[in-house]
């Protein structure tokens, strides 16, 4: 039976969420603009509607989760994003696999943040909540799923649509109440713990960006030009931390799960977070400058507005389908592009008009900023960050450029640069160098007090230490490329100079340490990136120098290794051997040897002996085991010179939407990662078998199959055979064949069958050895029988392996940066709280 009520309820919540957000916005607007007498009552109205809105949003979330959790596959969202096999903790991930759910996640965070804002603000509540709830209204419209009659205009895409209303399948004409037995499942690539925590973190980052923006707009609106910065700053810092962390988590997931060999790929979806984040960091810096010295107010306003508009622009890019071919993981078009464009344009126009009207009234300082002041250098740093963002924004927007030209009837065939890494690196690299030198130096300009001589005196020790350390690192790690030396010096200098500042600050006022800590983190990240990316080395080299074709006279280095099963090769001081396919059980850590189990269906196997993994027992014989059917692991053994053995388990996933997806296996050491993935493997579907060879033998005679010694231990009549109905007069005979492989003995059990007077033969394949044994004929009088053997190419994989030196420095740097942000948030929030308690805000 179709559960229509729950979907109608969810849809009601979604519509109500939209309306309550709109009403809250209107009430808060009236509260901000009307006189003292009615302001209070409008504010109470606003609070009431916002509270109602929060309840409605929770209603939508709970309803949708209820549908997914109870497997109501009559709903498109559940059918499309979940399945019965999905473990409960991944059901949360279903939310963000679909676009509607990810909007919902965003609104969910907004609901929580809005509540916090109401509780923590007095003076600002009405004005900021007007804009906040307006943003929320736009977001709520994305999941509205309402068609305006007469205009045939669809607003929003509801997650509560029934499958039969979305998909036009013949089955629904026969039986409108048809409910699929199972859903199509969550993309297995997302079934990873990072994918449970990365999207919520990233969306919390996205959600928090609105807060500095609403304070800024409220400040312009209420002509509180100077005052908005104080409450906005702690939130901008939180946003910078969470957005940065969310982005890094995505990078870490990509490093562990995808096979492009890194944590950053300049994919438009990544850029869409990176660019606003750079502008946000720039905005934070000029806001701090303003708090210190009353300069750079205009810059703060411009940057905060730009940052938020870039967030909406990113939303548009990743969700309108405009990126199409140029990104692997952008959302598909749900027909929301028009709505997203309206959202973008409304906020661009609104903020620009408001800023324009107020521009002349903004307080400015006429005085030229001294080159010896901190403000001047922070400002230069902010500009560098913006240019850095601009350089990424431009090529990312090429698809937008193409569609604008095409919408005016033109033809545009511009494609993104072919070698993205080289293209972006040649700018981002030098920008990073500038940033590093600035963030090392900037902190030394205390106030405006410091003069030329004094400055040199305090800068000299860190400069000398950095030069020495760089020299040592260069010698030790063999850094000789000029540009890399420069970046190394810049990174080391940032760390050293800020460490000096940190020590000074810790003595006097530890609360102010955030900046220095964050900058140390940035320095470490740069050093980590330099080595892990710049000195990443392919170690699976195959220096045969083969010609790619006789028509070409160039030689190519081969970066891949072909490994046949159980045939060792050498690679980067290791002896490397491919040892076969492994399966992944759902309920235990460890992998199962494919030969130890018999397959029942794609997701279930039965153990045919006790199953061990790296020394400990996982299962007993005859246990039924549920496995991740999409995943196959390839055991690769590395033997070091000193006899130590490591196992790598790179994976290939037969992904329903993305095809064959390879995931690496990483051997982590303190100073470097060894990163290997399977590039290609023998495809079971199109193997070619050799012509059959026949042997007429007696029991225990040995014979050779592809150089392997084999013998038949005996024959036995059997009375049960899977999949065959044996009648009284039928005969089934099973052969027991032993084959000696390189590593172990294998058993093959071909069956010879006489059923209803007809002869049938069921061959048995030994996958590891690439051979098939058939019992062809039996001569009981002679005590002899005929064995037929076919062989194919042995199992092989092609492996690519890389070394990533000092990648841990990058991860450590990220954590340090986040800690620095945290310290700064605490400080700035306590400043705001002090003022609020004085009754000023």
């Amino acid at each position: 039976m179709i559960h229509t009520f729950i979907g109608d309820l969810g849809h009601f919540f979604a519509v109500a969420a939209f309306i309550t957000a709109l009403f809250a916005s209107f009430s808060y607007f009236k509260s901000t603009t009307s006189g003292l007498s009615s302001a209070q009552s409008w504010k109470i109205n606003g609070r009431f509607f916002f509270l109602a809105h929060v309840i409605m949003i929770m209603g939508v979330v709970i309803t949708l989760f209820y549908i997914i959790y109870n497997h109501y596959f009559e709903y498109h969202y559940a059918w499309n994003h979940s399945s019965r096999r999905l473990p409960a903790h991944y059901m949360i991930s279903c939310f963000w696999e679909g676009q509607e759910g990810s909007f919902l996640l965003w609104m969910f965070w907004h609901a929580i943040l809005g509540t916090i804002l109401i509780f923590t603000n007095k003076f600002w509540e009405s004005s900021i909540m007007t804009i906040f709830t307006l943003v929320q209204t736009f977001l709520a419209s994305m999941i509205l799923g309402v068609v305006i009659p007469g205009l045939e205009l669809k607003i929003g895409s509801s997650p509560f649509l029934l499958l039969r209303d979305v998909i036009d399948a013949p089955i629904f004409q026969e039986n409108p109440d048809f409910i699929p037995q199972d859903g199509t499942g969550l993309n297995p690539l997302l079934q990873n713990y990072w994918m449970v925590i990365h999207p919520p973190t990233l969306f919390l980052g996205f959600a928090t960006t609105v807060i500095p923006f609403i304070y800024c707009i409220a400040g312009l609106w209420l002509k509180k030009y100077r005052d908005w910065v104080r409450p906005a700053l702690p939130w901008a810092l939180i946003s910078g931390a969470v957005l940065g962390l969310g982005n890094q988590m995505g990078g870490y997931w990509a490093y562990e799960t995808l096979n492009f060999g890194g944590y950053w790929n300049w994919d438009p979806v990544e850029n869409a977070v990176y660019v606003p984040w750079l502008f946000l960091v720039a905005a934070i810096h000029v806001m701090i400058t303003f708090r210190k010295s009353n300069t750079a107010l205009k810059a703060s306003i411009v940057l905060v507005i730009t940052m938020f508009i870039l967030i909406i622009y990113s939303t548009f890019l990743t969700r309108s389908g405009i990126l199409g071919d140029s990104s692997v993981h952008s959302f598909t078009d749900l027909g929301l592009s028009g709505q997203l464009l309206v959202y973008l344009i409304v906020f661009i126009v609104l903020s620009i008009v408001l800023a324009y009207i107020r521009w002349k009234e903004l307080p400015t300082t006429e005085k030229e900023v001294s080159t010896y002041s901190r403000e001047f250098w922070i400002f230069i740093g902010a500009i560098t960050l913006c240019l850095m963002g601009f350089q990424v924004l431009l090529p990312t927007s090429i698809p937008v450029y193409n569609s604008i030209v095409e919408s005016f009837g033109g033809v545009s065939n511009v494609a993104p640069p072919t070698d993205q890494i080289t293209f972006y690196t040649k700018f981002q690299f030098w920008f990073a160098v500038v940033i590093a030198f600035l963030s090392g130096t900037g902190q030394f300009f205390w106030w405006k007090k410091i003069g030329g001589k004094q400055l040199w005196n305090s800068l000299l020790p860190p400069i000398i230490i950095s030069l020495l350390m760089t020299l040592i690192l260069m010698e030790w790690l063999d850094v000789s490329t000029i540009s890399y030396i420069v970046l190394l010096l810049a990174g080391v200098y940032t760390v050293v100079a800020n460490s000096k500042i940190l020590m000074m600050v810790l003595k006097s006022s530890p609360k102010l340490a955030g900046g220095a800590i964050a900058h140390i983190g940035v320095g470490l990240m740069l050093i980590g990136i330099l080595f892990s990316a710049g000195y990443s080395e392919v170690v699976s080299l195959n220096n045969t120098g083969m010609l790619i074709s006789r028509q070409l006279d160039e030689e190519f280095n081969r970066e891949n290794l072909l490994l046949f099963l159980n045939e060792p090769k050498t690679m980067a001081n290791y002896q490397i051997k491919y040892k076969g396919e492994r399966l992944e059980p759902i309920d235990s850590d460890g992998l199962i040897h494919k030969n130890d189990v018999d397959k029942i269906d794609a997701y279930t196997v039965v153990a045919n002996k006790d199953v061990f993994f790296e020394g400990h027992q996982l299962y007993n014989i005859n246990d039924t085991i549920v496995v991740h059917g999409e995943n196959v692991y390839y055991e690769v053994e590395l033997k070091a010179g000193n006899g130590k053995v490591y196992n790598l388990y790179p994976r290939i996933q037969d992904n329903p939407t993305m095809g064959m997806a390879a995931s690496p296996s990483i051997k982590r050491d303190l100073s470097r990662d060894l990163y290997a993935h399977v590039v290609s493997r023998l495809s079971r579907e199109d193997v070619e078998w050799s012509k059959m060879k026949e042997f007429k033998i007696s029991p225990r005679d040995t014979f050779f199959i592809n150089d392997y010694v084999a013998k038949v231990d005996g024959l036995q009549r059997i009375f049960e055979l899977d999949g065959v109905d044996l009648a009284e007069q039928d005969v089934a005979i099973k052969g027991y064949v032993t084959i000696e492989g390189e590593e172990q003995e294998y058993q093959a059990n071909p069956v010879f069958l006489i059923k209803d007077g007809l002869v049938g033969r069921i061959p048995d394949e030994v996958e590891d050895l690439g051979l098939k044994v058939t019992l062809m004929n039996i001569f009981p009088d002679e005590d002899k029988f005929v064995i037929g053997t076919n062989t194919r190419q042995k199992d092989w994989i092609i492996l690519k392996a890389m070394e990533k030196p000092f990648i841990n420095v990058l991860w450590v740097g990220t954590v340090v940066l986040m800690f620095g942000f945290g310290v700064a948030v605490v400080r700035r929030y306590s400043e705001f709280k002090k003022m609020r308690e004085k009754g000023i805000e």
Binding site: I167, P180, E368, L394, P395, V414, D419, L552, N560
Partner: protein
Amino acid sequence: MKKSHIIALLIIAVAVFIIITTVGDASTYVTFSEAREIALDGNENSIHVVGELVKSGNGQINGIVTSQDKLSFSFDMVDENDEVQHVYYNEPMPADFLRSEKVVVIGSYHDNVFVADKILLKCPSKYQETTVNAGV
């Protein structure tokens, strides 16, 4: 000239430089014959060509040659102008290559042979949610 003016000029200079470089480095979607002309002009920049694998009537894919050691391969590809070109790729065949619906090759001509640096595939999703079967 005030310091702020110098800074403004510098920003504009850098921004213009970024724009010019982006325009210069941007690739284009072209056909094989256009790609050949580009190469004849002595321009070695990589370009994108969009096309499909060449299939005979019964769906068999033609023209695939895999090297002895399986570490490189070449194939026939037909572009949007129906021109067929043999393309070389110095990497193993991507796992889903034979199933792909659309192929984008990024590379350039070397001595009349098209060498791909990168291949992007568009595969038909097995679960492209366009229909529901009673069995599912």
